[in-house]
């Protein structure tokens, strides 16, 4: 588990850097952090290329050198690997549960102990990654894309566009999650994660949409945007080149936190009997099953919650790094 101190800044944990074999970038990163503390103006030194690059390739170059990005990327890579091949690090069967072991704490071969049904918490935590990471990432991506496109358009064009899109948003806001879940998901018989993800996107986009709209409305007022408009830049150019990089930060912040809440929401839906059908294994289901027994068997809650926390941490760090990379003021 990485030390979370590395977040939100470019001060690099040395080990992480060395591990990536990008030794050359290390000096840059550390020096850059210092420069930044002194304030803008002193751009990152040592950029060898002189020809102008697009904002996006600039951002990518920036990211590759950012230790925060590398650490979070490694965590996410690890999560993806165990999602695909959980048996690499867990030899047990997550569905093999013996009530005789219920709520027992850790023992040899079972480092995290057992849950209330006598299932091995370690195995279930490893196997739960696939469902939870899929739900979290896909729902967040869906919500972020749909929400920022619709919200961005509403904010950028204003007027009738804004009125219509915003009022549709309001109607979706009105649907209580429990009602929506019971109605929309109870008719679904598929036992895959996709209906659940679709449901989250359907009910989740209005929030991001409002946030994106607000950001775009603000960004639109900036002098350089006005200048670009005066110079006759096309709408799509203004949106992509000038507004998006300046409006994306709040969307990233909300989306990275929402990722964690979607993983937890999946459990709420399962609890309501409309989420993922047994015998699916997920962190959310295990967290919600262990919650009432917090006084008797806290370990059964601790591990899946911990896994969720690390995942959220990784994505928050990733979001921070991407945001920094896209911020022209930091250049």
């Amino acid at each position: 588990m990485p030390e979370p101190q590395s977040t939100g800044d470019r001060g690099a944990p040395e080990g992480a850097m060395a591990a990536t074999g990008m030794g050359g970038a290390m000096d840059l990163a550390t020096s850059e952090a210092e420069t930044l503390e002194k304030g803008p103006g002193a751009g990152p030194g040592g950029d060898p290329a002189d020809k102008p690059r697009s904002l996006w390739s600039d951002a990518w170059l920036d990211l590759r050198r950012n230790p925060v990005f590398i650490v979070s990327g490694l965590i996410i890579l690890f999560l993806v690997i165990i999602s695909i091949w959980p048996s690499l690090i867990a030899s047990g069967n997550p569905l093999k549960c013996d009530l005789a072991n219920a709520q027992k704490s850790s023992g040899p071969g079972h480092p995290f102990g057992y849950d209330g049904q006598g299932c091995d918490v370690y195995t279930r935590t490893v196997y739960g990654a696939r469902t939870s990471v899929t739900v979290g990432v896909c729902a967040t991506l869906g919500v972020a894309v749909l929400g920022s496109v619709l919200g961005g358009l509403a904010g950028f064009f204003g007027g009738t566009w804004d009125s219509v899109l915003s009022r549709i948003t309001d109607v979706f806001f009105a649907i209580p999650v429990v009602l929506g879940g019971l109605v929309l998901l109870s008719v679904v018989t598929s036992s895959t994660v996709w209906p659940v993800i679709g449901f989250m996107v359907l009910l989740g986009w209005p929030q991001i949409s409002r946030i994106a709209r607000g950001s775009v409305i603000t960004a639109k007022q900036n002098d350089y945007v006005q200048a670009a408009r005066a110079l006759g830049a096309s709408n799509s150019r203004m949106l992509l080149r000038h507004i998006t990089p300046n409006a994306v930060a709040p969307v990233i912040v909300v989306a990275t936190i929402a990722l964690g809440t979607y993983i937890a929401l999946e459990a709420t839906l399962s609890y309501l009997g409309v989420g993922l059908k047994p015998p699916t294994v997920s962190w959310g289901i295990d967290i919600s099953a262990a919650s009432p027994y917090i006084r008797n068997a806290p370990h059964a809650l601790l591990w899946p919650s911990g896994a969720l926390a690390v995942t959220v941490l990784a994505f928050i760090m990733l979001g921070d790094a991407v945001r920094d990379a896209l911020d022209p003021k930091l250049r």
Partner: protein, 307 residues
């Protein structure tokens, strides 16, 4: 400005009709609620038919909706299955929930923005990392557990608070529930503020303000914070509805007979009248909150104008 507000108020009418229709249909799609009224036993068909007639469930859905809306405009929101008027339920539930929401929003603003400013100005320092860790805990441990533990510690072990909220639900009783309810939103507000502050502290007007020799405090509150608040205000605006209608877990743990609890019960028992009644009021709250947020944009950023 005035014309803008009037236009927005007029737009509420289609949203109102659309939302109520949508909710009405959704509750209807859930199926026949009568079967749930007879316990683990089959209602005898004659009584079931009679009950269906009494609640108007024997009519086609569009007719039910028209009758319902007609009644709503005369102030009659119908009756819950236990014979209680929905207006009566609402008049007890909404004041409690409004108080709870006020407490939660208060915490979001005071704690969330304060922490956001501090961490935004001190990125990467121990205080930033500390707040991030707390944020992670709040996101990954269910409210159910935080609420329960706080209730046990403060209410039973130390005896600082009463574990359950009385029917009066006064503000002082709602402090802990409000904090629990606000916890996840606090994480959002803190990080949104932090990002905005970090982003804006390098902008020209802040540098100008610093260069002018303004005191640090004034730069932060008048220049930096004010321009960083738009995403935060937007978020809180979207959150008010969620806090009011979705406080199911918090309300259950602390025995608050509020909107979230009543709405949840209504949904589980498929009581159209209760659900649509409560949601109707909530929709109005959303609409007003969103309008206020949009107006606040213009206050926070004078460059934004509404025609």
């Amino acid at each position: 400005m005035g014309r803008y507000v009037i236009r927005r108020l007029l737009q509420m009418i289609p949203v109102f009709i659309g939302a109520t229709l949508l909710i009405f249909l959704m509750v209807n799609v859930m199926g026949d609620p009568i079967a749930g009224l007879c316990g683990d036993r089959q209602c005898d068909p004659a009584t079931a038919a009679q009950l269906r007639k009494e609640f108007g469930l024997d009519k086609p859905v569009w007719q039910q909706y028209l009758t319902y809306m007609g009644n709503v405009f005369t102030g009659d929101f119908g009756t819950a299955f236990n014979g209680q008027k929905v207006t009566e339920l609402m008049s007890t539930a909404f004041p409690v929930t409004i108080r709870l929401t006020v407490v939660a929003v208060f915490f979001e603003i005071v704690i969330g923005i304060t922490l956001g400013v501090i961490t935004g100005l001190r990125r990467g320092r121990p205080v930033d990392t500390g707040v991030l860790l707390v944020t992670l805990v709040v996101i990954s441990v269910p409210t159910f557990v935080t609420g329960l533990l706080l209730q046990l510690l403060l209410g039973v072990e130390w005896g600082w608070i009463k574990p359950s909220v009385s029917t009066d639900a006064t503000f002082d009783e709602l402090i802990v529930p409000g904090l629990v309810l606000a916890s996840v939103s606090l994480a959002y507000v803190t990080r949104l503020t932090r990002t905005s502050i970090a982003e804006n502290r390098r902008s020209d007007y802040v540098r100008t303000a610093v260069a002018k020799g303004l005191p640090r405090r004034r730069v932060i509150t008048r220049h930096l914070l004010r321009n960083s608040l738009i995403p935060v205000v937007t978020f809180i605006g979207t959150d008010i509805g969620a806090l009011m209608g979705g406080a199911i877990v918090t309300e259950r743990i602390f025995n608050i007979h509020g909107v979230g609890y009543q709405l949840y019960q209504g949904i589980l028992r498929q009581n159209t009248q209760t659900v649509v009644g409560f949601v109707t009021v909530l929709v109005l709250v959303f609409l007003v909150a969103n309008l206020l947020v949009d107006l606040l944009y213009a206050v926070l950023d004078p460059r934004i104008r509404y025609a």
